[in-house]
């Protein structure tokens, strides 16, 4: 039975009001009274050898209780933070070697990027800690800094890691390289594009913050820190502290944005925890925005050369992607997987390309480590495919929509096992393409272009199709209980960083159980109190935790039926359940689901032996990824004199499977589209050649605002439900970002094509568009 969540219920929002009224409990709000303040001394040099750290003057300031460096952490038994998830070969069977990059919580002998923490000052006030931090003197002998997403074939001066003389982090292959190259060479048309995905800063509204304490009696550390789910963080945290998992307790309350950067342990969390242990008092730290830009993991930053071999009729015979991924100074989290295996998981897209090959090489640089940022490889993959399709259409002189249509995987081919072994179990790519063409009035565009020309505007339209993976980590538990006071308690792993998980999961529970929304207690984010599962990543919570909720609620109803059988005169198969109430056939006796624990307790108090309980931990096991897909269309105008660009209309037609709550789907898509537009037109982390960060504040890092958003946005659900989970739901958290970078870039490229512009790289700033037009006309 598939409940009609999206249609039968009005939108559910149990969370937003409290958050916008300032009643949230963010990490900085819940620091205990009397907690000490930590401030970090950070490197102002991108690459160098630490010659000395002088803390004497700082230590003498009133209020300063401790100053810690790498030596103190080593004495306390901490370990460097290690890359967590092995890089595996494309078939998933063999580990691929990569350079080991142990990341110290506080840099000891070497600094490898601007903003790397070198010392921690703890004082009884934030002001005192900051004053003292200013007095810590660090003497660094500068080494050659390595900046940029490029790979030298030869050894470089002062490599970042001795193990990698040319700074190369790894080499990774997918597909039959020779067959792909041979097929491309034999194809009548060979289309090549170089595409850059510039470095981005995740920039959640709530900067990272943490409060750490240590209980000497139990030997346990407690860390309050915003996260996307405490499980991966807990593992890295325990490893770095050199203790077992049972000795760390990690708690995330409300979290104001994650986007992939609040998944793993960070150096600061380890350092303040050691300080808390040594001082016997809780220590807190909250990042400033400048610190966030210097020390939060970076996003994107890869360079791709994509080549397609096409037939004269537009059939894509073979595709080759040659990628350089910038790891930053250290490989962290799943960093090396983003420009390699995630690309392979997504590169097939909606097209029946017979042969695909990938070479991915990682490069280390003297910059912040990179790791997932909303989409994490999906937007980059779509960008390669969809920019290529438009470019091929020009070179082959075939209409770009028609060219795509000729290459689509047909709905009739489902289930479709793609070249890299992933099974598309649903998805009607022609339907989403048709839907987007119709909703955007693609056919009527040329008239709009002609009208714009009379106003000195170059109008363009562009589309992007995508198929992406969602639901990573294919197993998810949910702890379901009903208390004697008649409340359902749901314990889950994935913390909401703005997705309103509580609303969605509660909505599913109440729809199945027939109980009011206020009868569910939703518990997430406390590592001691939730089952072991995976965090909010890879567009997974709706389908994974949602399916676990579905299973848990239905199985509880069945257990309840047995309990009612014990408590009444009925037999289980005579007992019906509707609207939260069991009815015993014949007698007409009724019992409410939420009353069962109380009735059970009463029965047991009377000496009855009933073993059944409503409580259970249920795990949803999915057979693999789900494949959200869609087609987005953007229409833009560029001022031919200034390069100023405005996105006029944006249309998104998406198949995210069955929709649990349309408003939530729309919110996810709009937010994702906004972030993709940010990458497309303005966001950019800029380092100079010496490794200094030029975009170190929001005065220079261009966050998109409402003024950059499309003047009109149309979002259409076109579900083709997946059979891979009981909800029929696919992911939606990343779809907007996956599609919008390409969609906007293709629209702008279309606008400028009349001016002879062929090469465009994001961010598509006015200056770049003007320079491109000027160069093309020269």
């Amino acid at each position: 039975m598939v409940e009609k969540y999206g249609t039968a219920q009005s939108p559910v929002d149990l969370e937003s009001e409290a958050l916008v009224k300032g009643q949230g409990q963010y990490t900085d709000d819940i620091a205990p009274a009397g907690a000490l303040h930590g401030v970090f001394v950070r490197s102002t040099v991108a690459h160098g050898i630490i010659r000395s750290i002088d803390t004497a003057a700082a230590a003498e300031l009133p209020g300063v209780l401790g100053i810690y460096t790498a030596r103190d952490l080593a004495d306390a038994g901490t370990n460097p933070i290690m890359f967590m998830v092995p890089l595996m070969s494309a078939d998933g069977k063999t580990p691929v070697p990569y350079v080991s990059t142990p990341r110290p919580a506080l840099a000891g002998d070497r600094v490898r990027h601007i903003g790397e923490a070198i010392a921690l000052v703890v004082a009884d006030s934030a002001g005192a800690a900051q004053d003292a931090a200013d007095l810590v003197e660090v003497d660094i002998e500068e080494l050659t800094a390595h900046i940029g997403t490029r790979l030298s074939e030869d050894p470089v001066e002062d490599p970042i890691w001795d193990e990698a003389p040319n700074n190369q982090a790894y080499t990774w292959y997918a597909g039959d390289q020779e067959a792909v190259q041979a097929t491309i060479a034999a194809s009548p048309y060979k289309v090549t594009l170089e595409l850059n995905n510039q470095r981005l800063a995740g920039s959640p509204m709530e900067p990272r913050a943490a409060t750490a304490s240590f209980d000497p009696e139990s030997g346990r550390y407690t860390l309050y820190a915003g996260s996307q789910g405490t499980m991966f963080l807990r593992k890295g945290f325990a490893d770095a502290l050199g203790v077992g998992m049972d000795k760390v307790h990690v708690i995330s309350k409300d979290v104001g944005g994650g986007f992939g950067l609040k998944v793993y342990v960070y150096p600061e969390y380890v350092a303040i925890s050691v300080a808390a242990r040594l001082l016997g008092q809780a220590v807190r730290w909250t990042a400033t925005r400048s610190e966030a830009l210097q020390a939060d993991q970076g996003g994107r930053d890869s360079h791709c050369t994509v080549t397609g071999g096409f037939d004269a009729d537009g059939q894509l015979n073979a595709l080759y992607c040659d990628i350089i991924g910038n790891m930053g100074a250290y490989s962290i989290g799943i960093g090396p997987r983003v420009p390699s295996s995630v690309i392979a998981e997504n590169i097939v897209g909606p097209y029946a390309t017979p042969l695909i090959g990938i070479r991915s090489r990682g490069v280390h640089s003297n910059t912040i480590p990179t790791s997932p940022y909303r989409g994490a490889g999906r937007p980059e993959t779509t960008y390669m495919l969809e920019r290529l399709m438009d470019e091929a259409a020009i070179q082959l002189d075939i209409d770009r929509v028609e060219l795509r249509r000729r290459n689509l995987i047909d709905r009739e081919q489902m289930p479709f096992t793609n070249q890299f072994g992933h099974v598309y179990d649903s998805g009607d790519f022609a339907a989403v393409l048709d839907g987007a063409m119709a909703s955007s009035d693609w056919a009527g565009f040329e008239a709009r272009r002609a009208e714009a020309a009379t106003r000195g505007k170059l109008r363009g339209i562009g589309c992007a199709l995508f198929v992406e993976t969602a639901g990573a980590y294919f197993q998810e538990p949910l702890d379901f209980r009903v208390t004697e006071d008649g409340m359902v308690e749901v314990r889950v792993v994935g913390v909401s960083t703005g997705q309103r998980h509580r609303s969605t999961i509660t909505h599913i529970a109440c729809s199945i159980l027939g109980i009011p929304l206020d009868k569910v207690r939703y518990i997430a984010g406390d590592s001691d109190d939730v089952p072991v599962g995976s965090p909010t990543v890879g567009s997974r919570v709706g389908q994974m935790t949602g399916s676990a909720m579905h299973i848990a609620a239905h199985s509880a109803i069945e257990r309840g039926r047995a309990i009612v059988g014990h408590l009444s005169s009925g037999q289980p198969n005579d007992i019906t359940f509707a609207n939260g109430v069991y009815t015993v056939a014949g007698t007409g006796e009724t019992m409410a689901f939420l009353d069962l624990p109380r009735r059970l307790a009463e029965a047991r108090a009377e000496g009855r032996e009933i073993e059944e309980t409503l409580d259970a931990v249920e795990t949803f096991q999915s057979p693999g990824f789900s494949f959200p897909n869609g087609c987005h269309v953007a229409e833009v105008e560029v001022d031919e004199l200034t390069g100023e660009m405005q996105i006029l209309n944006y249309t998104a037609v998406d198949d995210c499977g069955n929709v649990i709550n349309h408003r939530e789907v729309e919110a996810q898509l709009m937010g994702g589209i906004a972030q993709g537009i940010g990458q497309g037109i303005m966001e950019q982390m800029v380092y100079d050649e010496s490794g200094q960060l030029l975009s170190g504040s929001f005065m220079d890092y261009a966050m998109p605002r409402i003024t950059e958003m499309p003047q009109a946005m149309t979002i259409v659900d076109l579900p083709d439900p997946t059979p891979s989970n009981p909800l029929g739901a696919k992911g939606v958290g990343e779809s907007g970002t996956t599609a919008s970078v390409s969609t906007v870039a293709n629209a702008v490229a279309d606008a400028l094509r009349a001016r002879g512009v062929t090469n465009l790289q994001t961010p598509l700033t006015a200056s770049r568009l003007w320079e491109a037009m000027r160069t093309a006309s020269a």
Partner: protein, 265 residues
Amino acid sequence: MHNFEFIRATSVAEAAEILRDDPEAGLLSGGQTLLPTMKQRLAAPSKLVSLTAIEALKGLSQEGDSLTIGGATTHAEVAERAVGIFPGLASLAGRIGDPAVRNRGTIGGSLANNDPAACYPAAALACGAMMVTDRREIPADDYFLGVFETALQDGEILTAVRFPIPEAACYQKFIQPASRFSMVAVFVARFADRVGVAVTGASEDGVFRWAEGEAALGAAFTPDAVQGLSLPETGMITDSFGTGAFRAHLIPVLTARAVTSLTAG
């Protein structure tokens, strides 16, 4: 932010005396630049002398064809009260920052700071405004000396600015997408006997008058008069938001837009 002593002066004389006695003391007007700088610990004055309680430094007054604005008058006040007197300036003031900035930031603070991307310096320079201090009067042409550099001496307080009111004026701002300051902005002021054109945001030397544009518009106040002109990209700022060539290109384009908006209809 480092510790400092806060003093709310009630007269210009009192503020000047504090500055005279303590070379480490600083003036605070709206604080929209100074306070963020202090938060970043890049400035650490011993004392901050607030000017915003000094009534003599606030408000607008029109005398004949000149408008005098007190140094501690907020952008919001100028935006609201100059509309009927000097609409081009009101429009400029109404587009500085956001409402929070406009309700705190002041014209005197902006002109004394002379940020190379600030808006007011372009208006002051294009109009040939007079900078009034507690010691003297300085013509705009002699006042703006370079990036964050003015003719103000240590301890000298900018008390007011006196604008000759142009017949028509328009400020065209091309914003830097991160800070929303001007990446290039042009103030065009047409007087009976001359046209002033001043440019902010573009030059490595800060705000400047575009003499060629002034001459061309003085001869014929039409967009075409400047459309074909060009400026050298040498000395223009290049950063991740735009090249020097782009900034140079924008100056005649924005100037023409200003003229178009003043002559349309």
